[in-house]
């Protein structure tokens, strides 16, 4: 039930997807542990090969160019990248201006308008609330 269409895309598209998430995480020049966890989890979720994950992690030290990535990614996947970029950017508690800049470029590439982008942000917030509820159930 938690599978994602991204899991069925090509290894190359998975690599580009994860590379863009790295760009988001490193956009504000500061990679926090929560962002790293989010990227690792999203790479795991779409079953990126362990060796490819090593290459992706290395990109954290030398982030790729967004324009180049957008030119090569399958256009139908950009909206999924946008969704998960919003997730990664939110995990440290706030959207940084540099992160928002990248997100807006992704939104433009996916032809997503501002009101829909707001819906995506709202969806992310509701996910954060949902996840936090588990800690209450567990008494943590």
């Amino acid at each position: 039930m938690f599978t994602d269409p991204l899991g069925d895309c090509s290894p190359n598209d998975k690599r580009i997807y994860a590379s863009i998430l790295v760009l988001i995480a490193s956009a504000d020049g500061e990679l926090v542990r929560e962002e790293f966890c989010a990227i690792e989890a999203l790479m795991g979720r779409i079953l990126i090969h362990p060796e490819v994950r090593i290459d992706i992690r290395n990109l954290l030290n030398d982030p790729p160019d967004l324009d180049e990535l957008l030119m090569t990614i399958d256009s139908s996947l950009i909206k999924f990248v946008l969704r998960d970029a919003a997730l990664v950017a939110a995990v440290d508690g706030a959207y940084d201006a540099a992160e928002l800049k990248v997100i807006r470029r992704l939104a433009a590439a996916a032809e997503v308008e501002d009101n829909t982008l707001k819906e995506i942000f709202d969806w992310v917030n509701s996910g954060l609330e949902w996840h936090h509820q588990s800690l209450n159930i567990l008494g943590l």
Binding site: G7, C37, G44, R83, L138
Partner: protein, 143 residues
Amino acid sequence: MLPDIIHKLPRDERFAYARLLAFMTKVDNELSVAEMAMFEQRLGNALLSPKQREMIRLALKSPPTLESCLEGMGEEAGRLALRDSVLMAAADGTVDEDEREILEEIAAHFGLADDAVERLLRWTFKGYNWMEDGFELLNGLSE
């Protein structure tokens, strides 16, 4: 992929957490792609070392016993492992009797309330709905 606290636990506790998840993958004798994806997602959240990941993937082929997983496991790691075991068990759409029994056993081991598993299942399905909302939002973009 959402902010969690598992990465804040000591490394050996994170490893114990992952071992319990590896055990859960084999409870119903079949590992679906959905379960595997959830397992890998939670493993990513736990930030295990590459060597530990390798050991956990090996544990998938030869799962540990529940007793050995629970032995010496800290309460916080155990409770988080229970929550994520529920997520994994439900990932293929159903939680069968064997899985439910094991989940109740883990909950009892860590002193959780009698209705904890039920509440976690409700929380899990709420999360599935949240994911569906995300898909619908994206699907709407294609129309």
